[in-house]
């Protein structure tokens, strides 16, 4: 099956019927194993003690939010270059998920920072650039809600997404370019990971679990967006024929609420 055939919305809906429960089950398995390894098997850090266990949430979330943005950049190119409606749906679906996982990253970072750095927050280059990414995600969600026509909203969001991509290298290299309180890269670095295997293992399992979780939620969100657009189209056709609203006010709003 080619990517083009999967990108057909009707085929995507049929594929999602199979993939969503499968990925949800895989997510549950990896999340269960990852949480067990993170909380009960991984050793305490020699400096941080047990507080290191917060990083099994924070680090996968931090890696995931960059990945989510790369997915959105791909979807934005799909919108602008190929004008594919499924790319529009993917863009719109990924933005709130990106915001959610970035909030998780910032929140767990703050909770870890209080006992380790002595403060909930610092205007450090890494932390601030991730906050900017959070604001970009929120801005994209707001943009989708502001423009009623989905096609126009998709093009505006795609341009905003591509412009916002400038924050990704800043996030990645901020710890190298500036003297930051945040520690430098310890996993994705040219010399290989510097973390002990007893801690790297649980981190990798949690990262896979987070990626699976995001993929599952993204598929559900894209499916919702396809259904919303079909409902909107049916509502417009019914209105054109002068028929009364066939559905309740709440269902009517489901078609139009972004």
């Amino acid at each position: 099956m080619t990517m083009v055939s999967i990108a057909n919305p009707s085929r995507f809906l049929r594929l999602a019927e199979i993939l969503v429960p499968t990925l949800a089950a895989l997510t549950a398995v990896f999340l269960g194993v990852g949480l067990y390894l993170s909380l009960f098997v991984a050793p305490p850090d020699y400096q941080q003690g047990e507080t290191v266990r917060i990083l099994y949430l924070h680090v996968p979330a931090a890696l995931l939010i960059t990945l989510i943005y790369l997915v959105m950049v791909s979807a934005a190119l799909g919108t602008l270059v190929w004008r594919h409606p499924l790319a529009d749906a993917a863009q719109k679906a990924a933005a709130p998920l990106g915001a959610g996982f970035t909030l998780l990253c910032l929140g767990t970072g703050a909770i870890w920072g209080k006992p380790m750095w002595g403060t909930w927050w610092v205007w450090d280059a890494r932390v601030t650039s991730v906050l900017v990414l959070f604001l970009i995600y929120l801005g994209l969600v707001a943009l989708w809600r502001t423009i009623e026509d989905p096609g126009r909203a998709a093009r505006a969001a795609a341009i905003f997404t591509l412009v916002g991509a400038v924050d990704l290298p800043i996030i990645k290299f901020s710890v190298d370019w500036w003297n930051t309180l945040h520690q430098p890269a310890s996993i994705l670095r040219s010399g290989g990971p510097t973390i002990d295997p007893s801690m790297l293992g649980p981190l990798v399992v949690m990262l896979i679990a987070f990626i699976l979780l995001f993929t599952t939620l993204l598929l559900i969100a894209i499916r919702n967006e396809i259904l919303r657009r079909r409902l909107r189209r049916l509502s417009i056709l019914a209105a054109d024929r002068g028929e009364p609203r066939p559905v309740s006010t709440s269902a009517w709003s489901a078609a139009y609420e972004p």
């Binding site: 057909n8 919305p9 009707s10 909380l39 305490p44 003690g49 047990e50 507080t51 266990r53 917060i54 949430l57 924070h58 979330a61 409606p85 499924l86 749906a89 709130p96 998920l97 959610g100 996982f101 909030l103 998780l104 929140g107 767990t108 909770i111 870890w112 209080k114 006992p115 979780l213 939620l217 559900i220 969100a221 499916r223 919702n224 396809i226 259904l227 919303r228 657009r229 079909r230 409902l231 189209r233 049916l234 056709l237 019914a238 028929e243 066939p246 559905v247 309740s248 709440s250 269902a251 009517w252 489901a254 078609a255």
Partner: protein
């Protein structure tokens, strides 16, 4: 682990993650059910619209 002086921070971090992930999943599933109900209401009133929901042109979703 429970005797660690920072045990409360660890619990808070995992609780925050649970709340955020559960909120995202619940809102998506609620949205899905609402949309399915709305589409079913259309189908109920106008069976002819069934074709439009199942074979809409690809470019219009």
């Amino acid at each position: 682990m429970s005797h660690d002086p920072h045990f409360g921070y660890i619990i808070a971090a995992y609780a925050l993650a649970l709340v955020i992930v559960a909120s995202m999943a619940a809102s998506l599933l609620a949205d899905y059910l609402r949309l399915k109900r709305a589409l079913a209401a259309f189908d109920h009133q106008e069976p002819a619209s069934q074709d439009e929901t199942s074979s809409a042109p690809d470019k219009e979703l």
